[in-house]
């Protein structure tokens, strides 16, 4: 009698193990692809030959290359300008994506550079048809910083990031209200000027 009880317990334990390992195996392609990019980012940040002030240029160039594969700055620009996007010509949109993309890139890179030695955990994710949200956390010894990535699926099946939510604050949402505020009072040219100034500073 006693033996069978132990056997049952062992089996329950094994099934629990199966359950939890299956949970891990359930990672979506969105998360897998994002993880690939973040791993590359962390690798560059921890690369000894790229560390320090004197290598900033080389480091940023590598980071930029990696980030551009996964982050759609075009989509971020479109979403941030929101209703003002349609009023712009194709040329204007291109210029805007270039400028705003650079600002977003700088913002994200400096955020990641601040936490070079920390680890990133993947908390959970939701996928709904062509949209996904992957919840990550940067674990530091004093605080955990939640960073969520909103992604969409492109025609070729890869997932691209269209918004980054840092500590509950969506980047696109934040720029959206800024742009709207500026464009209500000022012209589009003024906004472009401000963007340029920001990047150069």
């Amino acid at each position: 009698m006693k033996q069978s009880k132990i056997a049952v317990l062992v089996l329950i334990f094994f099934s629990a193990c199966v359950f939890f390992s299956a949970q891990d195996a359930l990672a979506s392609p969105a998360r897998d692809q994002l993880k690939l990019t973040i791993d590359q980012v962390l690798e560059i940040l921890q690369d000894q030959s790229l560390k320090g002030e004197e290598h900033t240029k080389a480091r940023r160039a590598s980071l930029r290359r990696v980030i551009h594969e996964r982050f759609s700055f075009a989509k971020m620009s479109q979403l941030s300008l929101a209703r003002h996007w349609r009023k712009r010509s194709k040329e204007e949109k291109k210029i805007f994506i270039g400028l705003f993309g650079k600002l977003l890139e700088q913002t994200y890179i400096s955020k990641m550079e601040a936490y070079t030695s920390e680890k990133v955990v993947y908390v959970k994710e939701f996928v709904k048809k062509k949209k996904a949200q992957v919840y990550t956390k940067i674990i530091t010894d004093s605080v955990d910083i939640p960073i969520d990535y909103r992604m969409y699926k492109t025609k070729d099946g890869s997932w691209m990031v269209y918004d980054i939510v840092i500590e509950g604050v969506s980047l696109v949402g934040n720029y959206r209200s800024q742009f709207d505020q500026i464009l209500q009072k000022d012209t589009y040219e003024k906004l472009l000027g401000e963007l340029k100034k920001k990047i150069e500073s």
């Binding site: 195996a25 010894d141 969506s170």
Partner: protein, 283 residues
């Protein structure tokens, strides 16, 4: 006895099968539509469930890319612009914002920076944990007011463990060893939970961005904050100032980063505050 044995093997084989069907679902690159249409919000990842839903709804057609863009835009429209927070006291708020900005750059930031340079992280963390533990009444009462009885219970456990084994709250034993966690509740969030809107945007001197609702919340929480009962008031204020500096020492550079990334820092800070609070009310 033998029978029981085989029965459990059967159960496990079945559960493995169910889980595997979920894994196969992932392999074919299609994931269950677990979300409601415009809310990507906080639910734990449904494991087995997703596999089942997948089996049911596998054959749905996919929308065009442009439709996707429109859909995403609609998501944002539903969340941000439909509830803009009014700012009728813009000039007062802007003046307070400028005042706080100067206060931060001229006093809080330099003091916190040198404090950080002198005191090692473990010491500062202990102080932070101590003050966090002291705010237990605020979290407990607001958990109860929000009907989060389970969280209220967890809050009590955390307080008891950290106050004793954690030595007056200096160490977060409950969180680190017992894996007990709750969301930080306050009265502003309680009011938000009862569908009370933000009202208007307010920038408070020293305290920073707030709204009418959250300011009322601050007043409510004031009475639950033990430090406020310290006599004389000079000492109470001193303790609070020290708490502020200690907290700031963990966030050096963050405000600067926000300002650096912003085209319109006032608006960026306002939006960040509103978004952040909205997230917290949901939890």
């Amino acid at each position: 006895m033998e029978k029981k044995y085989y029965f459990s093997i059967l159960i496990i084989a079945l559960s493995v099968f169910v889980l595997h069907s979920a894994i196969f679902a992932q392999d074919s690159q299609t994931i269950a539509p677990v979300l409601s249409d415009n809310a990507i919000s906080t639910y734990p990842t449904p494991v087995i469930k997703s596999g089942r839903i997948f089996l049911a709804k596998n054959t749905k057609s996919v929308p065009e890319d442009d439709e996707l863009a429109k859909e995403i835009l609609d998501d944002y429209n539903a969340t941000t612009e439909s509830q803009p927070v009014a700012d009728p006291f813009y000039y007062f708020n802007y003046a307070m914002y400028t005042f706080n900005d100067i206060l931060y750059s001229a006093a809080i930031n330099p003091i916190a920076s040198s404090y950080k340079a002198v005191f090692p992280a473990p010491a500062r963390k202990g102080v932070k944990n101590f003050f966090f533990n002291l705010l237990f009444p605020v979290r407990l009462v607001n958990n109860i007011l929000q009907g989060e009885i389970k969280d209220a219970g967890t809050e009590i456990e955390i307080f008891l463990i950290n106050s004793t084994i954690g030595i007056l709250g200096f160490s977060r034993v409950a969180q680190n060893e017992f894996d007990l966690h709750t969301a930080n509740e306050d009265f502003g969030q309680t009011l938000g939970r009862y569908s009370i809107g933000n009202g208007i945007y307010l920038v408070l001197p020293i305290l920073g961005p707030s709204t009418l609702r959250d300011t009322v919340g601050l007043v409510g929480d004031y009475f639950l904050t033990p430090v406020n009962y310290v006599d004389p008031w000079e000492l109470s204020t001193g303790i609070k100032a020290y708490d502020t500096i200690n907290t700031a020492s963990f966030h050096i550079g963050e405000y600067e980063a926000l300002k650096k990334a912003a085209i319109d820092p006032y608006e960026a800070l306002k939006d960040a505050y509103i978004q952040n609070r909205k997230e917290k009310v949901k939890k």
